[in-house]
C-alpha cells in the first residue's frame, strides 16, 4: 500500500509547479479560507445534528468484527499444533527465539538446571559489564556501567533488571543479525533500497504498541512475542543507518579501489565496511535504545522485567514502586547509551591518543578478561557473589521518598496542578472531544477527508477517506475519536512548546548547548517512564497521558525546529537585519517561513510520538483505544476488540502520517 503511495511523488510536486508563481500567493490565502470554511460548516452541522449517529460502543460491547477476531484467535489457538504454517513456521520461530531468551535468562536472571540462582551471579554480570564497556568504550563508561549495574542490585530490582537486559540483548542480537546484512545490501543496491524504504517508514511510523496485538496472535503471549515485537521495532534504525553509512562512503574512495582492480568483495571488506564502522555502531546504539524502550512496553504482553513492575505499579497507582522501577529503566538506558556512544568514538580516540597506549592495550585486554572470568567463576560458585546482598533497601528508600513527594505534591500543589489540568481539560480537551465524539460519524469523516485533501493534496484525501472508512469498520469509532481528540490537543501543545524552544535554540548557540543534552537524554528514555511523575501530579486521568505524551514528543519537535531555524542561511538573516527587521520580524517573516518544511516534519513526528504515548496512557486512565488494547491483552473476551483498537491506532497513524508528509512535500516543493 505504501509503495503505491510513495511512487507518484513527482506527479504531486509537478502539479503546483505548473501553476505560475504569482498564483501561489492567492492560493495559499484561499487554502486557509477553505480550512476555515470546512471547520465552520462542521460546527454548524454539529450544532444541528449533535448526538446522532455517533457509533458509540460501550466498554463491554462487541461488534461482529470483534467476535470474528475472537473466533480467529480461538481457531488459531486450536490449530496451533496442527496447522502446518504454525507447525513449521511460526512455532519454529517462536521456539528458536524462546530458546535464545531462556538461554540468556538462565545465564543472568533466572534460576536454571536445578540451581537456585542463575549461572552468573551479580558479581559476574557487573564484572562482564565493566569489562565489555571498557573494551569497546573507555574506562569512564566502564565505571558508569559498574555503578549502574550495582545500583540495580541496591534498588532490589536485580532480577527484573537482568530480565529486561536479557530480553533487550536477545532482541538486539537477532535484530542486528538481520539488520546489518540488509542494511549493507540496501547500501549497495539502489533497487533494494527503494523496496526497503517504504517498509522501514511504515515500521517506524507505527506506534510501538500496535505490533503487540497481532504478534500475540501468532506467537502467543510471553517473552517470544515480546522479543519479536522488540526486534521489529528496533531493526529499522539499524538497517537505515547501515545503508546510509555505506552510501556515504565517498565515491572517489570506492572509485580509487576499483581503479586499483579490487573485486566487489575486496571493496566491501576493505573499504566500505571499515569506513562505515563508526556510523554502523551508532545504528547499533539506536537499535539498543529502541529495543529497551520496546521491551518495557512489551510488559503488556507479559514480558518479564522492569516494565512489568512499572505496569503493575501503575495499575495499582503505586507511584513509589513505579518510580523506583522507572528509575532503573532510566539508569539502564543511560548506561547502554553511553557505552555504545563511547564505542562508536573509540577507534578515533585511540588513534588520537597516539601509539603509546596501543602497545599496552592487548595485554591489558587479556588481563581484564581474566579478571572478569574470575568474577564470573566466583559468582557461579559462591552465594555471596551470586545473590545481591542486602534487601534492596535503597529501592524502598527511593520508593518511599517518591511516595512522600507525591503525597506532598498532591497535598500542596493540587491547587495549581488541578487548576492547570482543569483549564486544559475543560477549555481545550472537552469541547474538542465533544465535537469529535458527538458529531455524526459521517460528518467527522467528511471533515477529515476534506481537511486531508486541502492540506495534503487529493492523494492524502483519498488515503484519509480509506482510513476513515476502515475506522468505521473497526467498530471502535467513538473510542478512536476520543483518542484523536487527545492526540490533537497534545500535538498542539507540543507544537507550541516546540516552536518556542525550537526558535530560541535555533537562534542562540548558548541555549542550544544548554538544552540539547537534556533533549538527547529525554529521547533516550523509554516512553513508559514519563507516565510516572505525571501520574503523581495529576492522578489517573486523560490529562496525565496527554502531559506525558507532550513531554515525550516535545524533544523531537524542538530539535527538528531548531535545526530548521539554524539551517536558514546566515546571509539571509543578515540581509533581513540590514533591511531593518526587528527580531520578531526576522523570526516570523524570514526564519519560520524558510523552515516551513522543518515545521511540518516536526508536526508529523510530534503527532506520531504523541499517538504512541497517548495509547500507553490507556494504562493510567486515558481510556479509549489504549484502554481497549490493554484490556484486550488481559481479558479473553475482549481480545477481538483490543485487536480492532490496535488496528484503529494504525489507521490513525497512517492518516496523520500521510497528510503531514504530503503537506511537508508541498511545503518543500
Amino acid at each position: 500500500m505504501t509503495v503505491a503511495l510513495e511512487k507518484p511523488e513527482n506527479a504531486d510536486t509537478a502539479e503546483p509547479a505548473e501553476k505560475t508563481a504569482p498564483v501561489a500567493g492567492v492560493r495559499r490565502v484561499s487554502r486557509r479560507m477553505v480550512v476555515a470554511a470546512i471547520l465552520v460548516t462542521w460546527l454548524v452541522l454539529f450544532a444541528l445534528l449533535r448526538g446522532k449517529q455517533t457509533l458509540t460502543l460501550a466498554a463491554a460491547d462487541l461488534t461482529d468484527l470483534h467476535r470474528w477476531f475472537n473466533d480467529v484467535n480461538d481457531t488459531i489457538g486450536a490449530d496451533r499444533n496442527s496447522n502446518p504454517l504454525f507447525l513449521y513456521f511460526f512455532n519454529e520461530i517462536r521456539l528458536v527465539i524462546d530458546n535464545l531468551v531462556t538461554f540468556i535468562q538462565s545465564l543472568i536472571s533466572q534460576p536454571s538446571d536445578g540451581r537456585p540462582l542463575p549461572q552468573i551471579g551479580w558479581l559476574g554480570v557487573v564484572g562482564i559489564a565493566g569489562y565489555i564497556s571498557w573494551a569497546v568504550g573507555n574506562w569512564r563508561v566502564a565505571l558508569l556501567a559498574v555503578a549502574g549495574f550495582t545500583f540495580f542490585g541496591m534498588q532490589g530490582l536485580w532480577q527484573e533488571s537482568m530480565d529486561t537486559l536479557a530480553l533487550t540483548l536477545s532482541a538486539v542480537f537477532v535484530a542486528l543479525l538481520f539488520a546489518i546484512p540488509l542494511g549493507v545490501w540496501a547500501g549497495l543496491s539502489d533497487r533494494f533500497n527503494r523496496i526497503m524504504t517504504p517498509f522501514l517508514d511504515f515500521m517506524q511510523t507505527m506506534p510501538t504498541f500496535v505490533y503487540l496485538a497481532p504478534l500475540t496472535l501468532f506467537f502467543l503471549i510471553g517473552p517470544a512475542s515480546a522479543t519479536i515485537a522488540t526486534l521489529i521495532y528496533a531493526a529499522p534504525p539499524a538497517i537505515r543507518i547501515t545503508a546510509h553509512a555505506i552510501r556515504s562512503v565517498p565515491e572517489t574512495t570506492v572509485e580509487a579501489a576499483d581503479s586499483l582492480g579490487s573485486t566487489r568483495r575486496q571493496t566491501l571488506l576493505k573499504v566500505l565496511l571499515p569506513m562505515s564502522k563508526r556510523t554502523v555502531v551508532m545504528g547499533v546504539n539506536q537499535t539498543i535504545m529502541a529495543a529497551l524502550a520496546m521491551v518495557t512496553i512489551a510488559a503488556l504482553i507479559d514480558a518479564p522485567g522492569l516494565g512489568k513492575t512499572v505496569v503493575q505499579a501503575l495499575q495499582s497507582l503505586d507511584v513509589g514502586t513505579a518510580f523506583n522501577a522507572g528509575l532503573a529503566i532510566v539508569v539502564m538506558a543511560i548506561v547502554l547509551d553511553r557505552v555504545t556512544t563511547a564505542a562508536s568514538g573509540r577507534a578515533e580516540a585511540a588513534r588520537r591518543s597516539g601509539n603509546r597506549f596501543l602497545k599496552w592495550r592487548r595485554p591489558l585486554l587479556v588481563g581484564g578478561g581474566v579478571a572478569a572470568a574470575v568474577l564470573v567463576y566466583l559468582s557461579h560458585t559462591y552465594v555471596w557473589a551470586a545473590e545481591f546482598p542486602g534487601e534492596g533497601s535503597t529501592g524502598s528508600t527511593i520508593a518511599s521518598a517518591a511516595d512522600d513527594v507525591t503525597t506532598w505534591a498532591q497535598d500542596n500543589l493540587s491547587g495549581i496542578t488541578n487548576a492547570f489540568r482543569d483549564a486544559i481539560t475543560n477549555g481545550l480537551l472537552n469541547p474538542f472531544q465533544t465535537l469529535l465524539t458527538d458529531s455524526p460519524w459521517w460528518l467527522v469523516g467528511a471533515a477529515l477527508v476534506a481537511l486531508g485533501a486541502v492540506l495534503g493534496g487529493w492523494r492524502a484525501g483519498v488515503t484519509t477517506a480509506v482510513c476513515v472508512g476502515l475506522l468505521v469498520g473497526t467498530g471502535v469509532w467513538s473510542d478512536s475519536m476520543t483518542t484523536l481528540a487527545s492526540t490533537v490537543v497534545a500535538t498542539v501543545l507540543v507544537m507550541v512548546l516546540g516552536l518556542t524552544f525550537g526558535v530560541w535554540m535555533g537562534r542562540s548557540l548558548l541555549v542550544d548547548r544548554l538544552l540539547r543534552p537534556t533533549l538527547d537524554a529525554a529521547q533516550v528514555m523509554p516512553p513508559f517512564v514519563y507516565l510516572v511523575p505525571f501520574l503523581a501530579l495529576f492522578g489517573a486521568t486523560r490529562f496525565t497521558a496527554i502531559v506525558a505524551a507532550v513531554v515525550y514528543a516535545v524533544p523531537v519537535a524542538i530539535k527538528i525546529i531548531a535545526d530548521g531555524v539554524r539551517a536558514v542561511p546566515e546571509t539571509t538573516v543578515e540581509a533581513a537585519t540590514a533591511a531593518g527587521c526587528n527580531t520578531w520580524q526576522i523570526i516570523t517573516k524570514v526564519q519560520l517561513p524558510m523552515s516551513r518544511s522543518a515545521l511540518t516534519l516536526a508536526t508529523n513526528q510530534g503527532l506520531i510520538y504523541v499517538l504512541s504515548m497517548v495509547v500507553v496512557g490507556g494504562l493510567v486512565g486515558a481510556g479509549a483505544l489504549g484502554y481497549d488494547v490493554v484490556a484486550g491483552f488481559s481479558q479473553g473476551e475482549l481480545y477481538g476488540k483490543g485487536l480492532a483498537a490496535g488496528l484503529a491506532i494504525v489507521l490513525l497513524g497512517v492518516m496523520f502520517d500521510r497528510i503531514t508528509q504530503a503537506a511537508a512535500r508541498r511545503a518543500s516543493a
Binding site: P250, T252, T253, V254, E255, A256, A257, D258, S259, L260, G261, S262, T263, Q266, K270, V271, P274, M275, K277, A347, R351, N355
Partner: protein, 362 residues
Amino acid sequence: MTPAQTEVPQRRGTPQDSAPTPVISVRKLWKVFGPKADRVPDSEELCGLTRRELMDRTGCTAAVRDVNFEVSPGEVFVVMGLSGSGKSTLVRCLTRLIEPTAGEIVFEGEDIRDADDKRLRELRRRKFSMVFQHFGLLPHRRVVDNVSFGLEIRGMGKAERTKRALEVVELVGLSGYENSYPDQLSGGMQQRVGLARALAGDPDVLLFDEPFSALDPLIRRDMQNEVIRLHHEVGKTMVFITHDLSEALKLGDRILIMRDGKTVQCGTGDELVGAPADDYVREFVKDVPRGDVLTLRWIMRPVVDGDALDGPELGPDVVVREATRAVLAAEKPVKVVENGKLLGIVGDEEILAVVAGQEGDM
C-alpha cells in the same frame, strides 16, 4: 567543427622520432548517459545534434562524443577542458570505471572494451593506476597501508608490500609520515599519498584526474614539479586531466582540448597557441605568455631578397623566450635551420612582437 589533429609533436626531446606504436589508441569513443544510450552513437541524425538538442530529444547526455587520440610510450598526454566538457568521463572510460557506449580503446594491441571482468581487473591491477582529484584515500589506514593497498588487493604478502610501499613513500617525499593517518596530512601531502599509491603497483600508464585542482596554488606548483620530476625518474606514460591551461602547457607533451564532449583541437602547446583551431581555443590561449610557448618555427618569416644571411643559426624548436637574448644581441637576423635546411629568419621585430605581446592574429 572538425578537430584539427596536428601530427609530429617535437618538444622536450620526446621519444617520437620514429613514430612508435602508441600505448593507447582511442577511436570513435562515445559515452552517452541516459535511457537507451546505445542508439545515439549509431544514429547519424542524433550524432549531429548539439548537447542541448540531444537532451530535449532523447533525454540523453553525451559526455564524450566521437573522441580519437593516441598516446605514445613515455608521453605526457593532457586532456583539457572546462567543467562539464567530459574530460573526467573520458579518463574513466579508459579503464572502464565508466563503461563507454561505443568506440575502441586499444591498449598494447588489446581492445579494453572486450576484456572480461577478470582481465579488466588484471589490467587495473598491473597496467593502469589513477590519481583522483579528491584523493580517495582510506581514512582508517595509515599512509603506508594506503600506499600498499593496491598491492594488497593483488594478494601480495604483507612484508613485501610494506617494503615496496616504503620505497614509493620515499620517492614521493613523504618519508617520516609512513605511520600518519590521511587526515593528519595537508592536502598536498594527501595527494602525494595518492600519487604513491598509484606508483606502488609499477603500472605502465598513470591516469591523473585533475589531481591538483583541490590544492592551493603554491602547493599545486610544487606538485606539478613533482610530477615532472617523477616523469623524468620513472618515465611512465601519463594521461593528465586538467582545466588549467598553464598546467596543461607546463606538463603536456601534447594537449587535447575538449568542449561539450568533443575534441576541439589536439596538438602540442605551441600549436595550440600558434594555430588555434577556432575561436574557442583562441579565447582559451589568449592570456598565455606567448614567448614562453611559441617556438621560432611559429614566428620566423620567409627569406626575402635583401635579407642578410650571415647571422647566427638556431633550431626551429627553440622557444622564443630562450632565443630572445640571442636574437636581440645579434647584429643580423637569426637564421632558423633544421637539418641544414634554411627554413626562415627571425629578426628583432618578430621577437619583440611576441615578447611585447603585440602580435596580431596569425
